[in-house]
């Protein structure tokens, strides 16, 4: 008998007719835990990003406020909260107000299906990964609402770019997830983690690469941060935002990074599984490793052009993802079951060949032009 059932029976005894309240309490506790977890992780990630990016650029980064500057994100947040909330005169006030919420709330919803221990998951949906893909697209609507409501041409350009980017990169992401689903035999994130005796980034390196790149585009990080390309379109969709609403967008942006780090860690790096340390620590370590790579990429690779972005998604990632899915299906069907290492070798060879073949597409003049 679980604690919840005991609570339910106890409540039925003392307060008949209201025993459903037993489910209210864990729900509220869960919501508070998720909000607190995301806010703390966002603060930690902002700090890590600023220090790490500085070190990649041979700078020091914020190191004044508190030991090694760990209170700097808090100071920044307070500064942003205390700022005046400016709304443009011709803006659509209601939508301008709602948009930051619509960007931020899906992030908390995604965390409902990420397991942090064996069975420790808020809702063990049997379509968990589909839910993640579906929910993470909602914030695109929020971005478009923000841009449309703020009545600003730069914001609108950014929003158009975002829509195109999100739609384009959803396909390779879903197809690479399908490879994982084929291997794990389930859509539930809990089952996917349970199936990873060998982490899936070894089992299908190409799928991992495609998902990682796609996730970078989904969370609008460098080199796909076209929607807030500050050298071209001021600040993109949040040009007309300030104060608390801007803070919500900022939170949403980093919240996306947190969530996508968690998803990558869960479906490719075997989630909470690991020796010695407790599972939640392993999940956090893997999230931070993924985030390290994200910051590393941000510090290295310049922003793509819009046409490059599109052609990379449709001509590069999508065919590779389809071939990868086909390959995994064939291996699953015909390869003997007890030989994961053979699969790893085959997949790494195929990934190398495919990347070499496809990189020819993205050279100047198809590789025929000398630079």
């Amino acid at each position: 008998m679980t604690l919840l059932e005991q609570f339910h029976i106890w409540l039925k005894a003392i307060w008949p007719g209201f025993e459903w309240a037993a489910y209210l309490v864990p729900a509220l506790v869960g919501i508070i835990i998720i909000i607190a977890f995301i806010l703390i992780m966002v603060i930690v990630f902002i700090y890590i990003e600023r220090r790490l990016l500085a070190r990649f650029q041979i700078r020091l980064g914020p190191n004044r406020f508190g030991p090694e500057g760990i209170f700097q994100p808090i100071a920044t947040a307070l500064k942003v909260l205390l700022k005046e909330d400016v709304v443009p005169d011709r803006a659509d006030k209601v939508i301008h107000f709602i948009a930051p919420l619509i960007v931020f709330i899906p992030i908390m919803l995604i965390f409902a299906v990420i397991p942090i221990h064996e069975g420790a998951i808020f809702t063990d949906l049997n379509v968990g990964i589909v839910y993640v893909v579906a929910i993470s697209s909602i914030s695109t609507v929020g971005i478009f609402m923000a841009a449309w409501a703020s009545n600003n041409k730069y914001a609108l350009i950014a929003a158009m770019r975002t829509i195109g980017q999100m739609i384009s990169y959803e396909f390779p992401i879903v197809l690479s997830i399908l490879g994982v689903v084929l291997l794990a035999g389930s859509l539930s994130l809990n089952q996917i983690v349970a199936a990873q005796d060998i982490p899936f980034f070894l089992m299908q390196p190409l799928g991992f690469a495609i998902f990682f790149i796609g996730a970078l585009a989904e969370m609008n990080r460098c080199p796909f941060d076209l929607l807030e390309a500050d050298s071209e379109i001021v600040a993109g969709y949040h040009t007309e935002y300030s104060g608390m609403k801007f803070a919500m967008f900022y939170l949403g942006e980093y919240g996306h990074t947190v969530v996508h780090s968690a998803i990558i860690a869960t479906i490719f790096l075997s989630g909470w599984r690991g020796p010695v340390l407790p599972p939640i620590i392993w999940l956090l370590i893997k999230m931070i490793i993924v985030f390290f790579v994200i910051v590393w990429i941000r510090s290295t690779i310049p922003r793509l052009r819009v046409d490059q972005l599109m052609s990379f998604a449709w001509k590069g990632l999508l065919p590779m993802a389809i071939i990868n899915l086909f390959l995994v299906a064939v291996e699953k069907l015909w390869l003997p079951a007890g030989m994961p290492w053979l699969m790893i070798v085959i997949n790494f060879i195929f990934a190398g060949i495919l990347i070499l073949l496809w990189s020819r597409l993205f050279t100047l003049g198809g590789g025929k032009v000398e630079v």
Partner: protein, 184 residues
């Protein structure tokens, strides 16, 4: 097969930035750390030598701002004036160096310091006692070949591998967990 065409350029770039992660940061945290500056620098201060000055007031006449106030009387030894008052308002001075270049007796020189901010404006008006050379008011080699010849040879702006105790900058790689940059 040219590997520049097959994404190896990205790998090279990533390797370079990863290498940067383990380099010393080039940031100089100014009030606590300072760069080695040249002793021949044309700094933001003036040094006045009382024993060389004859009170001729050429410097005062050459000053485009009229910042130098000089009051003399009588005749001292070697047919000199006795300088009663020699004041420079460094708040208005732009350190053009014309007074140094015009001085016929090499009694004025540029200094080495570049930190001359004060809390009050009247602290910027320097009397002749303030202007005399002291430990932290040394003449630089600017327009004074004799002084310049006495200065030691320097290698400039090299972030030394020396520590701060040896007079270097101490910009070795310091891991994130040390006390670096938390005030003096």
């Amino acid at each position: 097969m040219k590997f520049e065409r097959y994404g190896i350029g990205i790998a090279k770039g990533m390797a370079l930035t990863l290498k940067h992660l383990f380099r010393d940061p080039i940031t100089v945290q100014y009030p606590e750390e300072k760069l080695v500056v040249s002793k021949r620098i044309r700094g933001n201060e003036l040094v006045w030598f009382i024993d060389k000055c004859t009170g001729c007031a050429t410097c005062a006449r050459s000053c485009p701002q009229g910042n130098i106030e000089i009051v003399t009387h009588g005749s001292g030894e070697d047919n000199r004036y006795i300088v009663d008052k020699f004041e420079i308002d460094t708040g208005r001075c732009m350190f053009c160096g014309l007074c140094v270049e015009s001085c016929p007796y090499e009694a004025l020189a540029m200094g080495r310091s570049y930190e001359r901010s004060q809390y009050n404006r009247n602290q910027l008006v320097l009397s002749k006692f303030d202007l005399m050379p002291s430990d932290n008011r040394q003449p630089s080699g600017y327009y004074r070949p004799e002084i310049e010849a006495t200065l030691p040879r320097q290698s400039l702006l090299i972030f030394g591998k020396k520590s701060k105790k040896e007079g270097g900058q101490g910009t070795k790689f310091i891991p994130i967990s040390t006390n670096r940059g938390r005030g003096v």
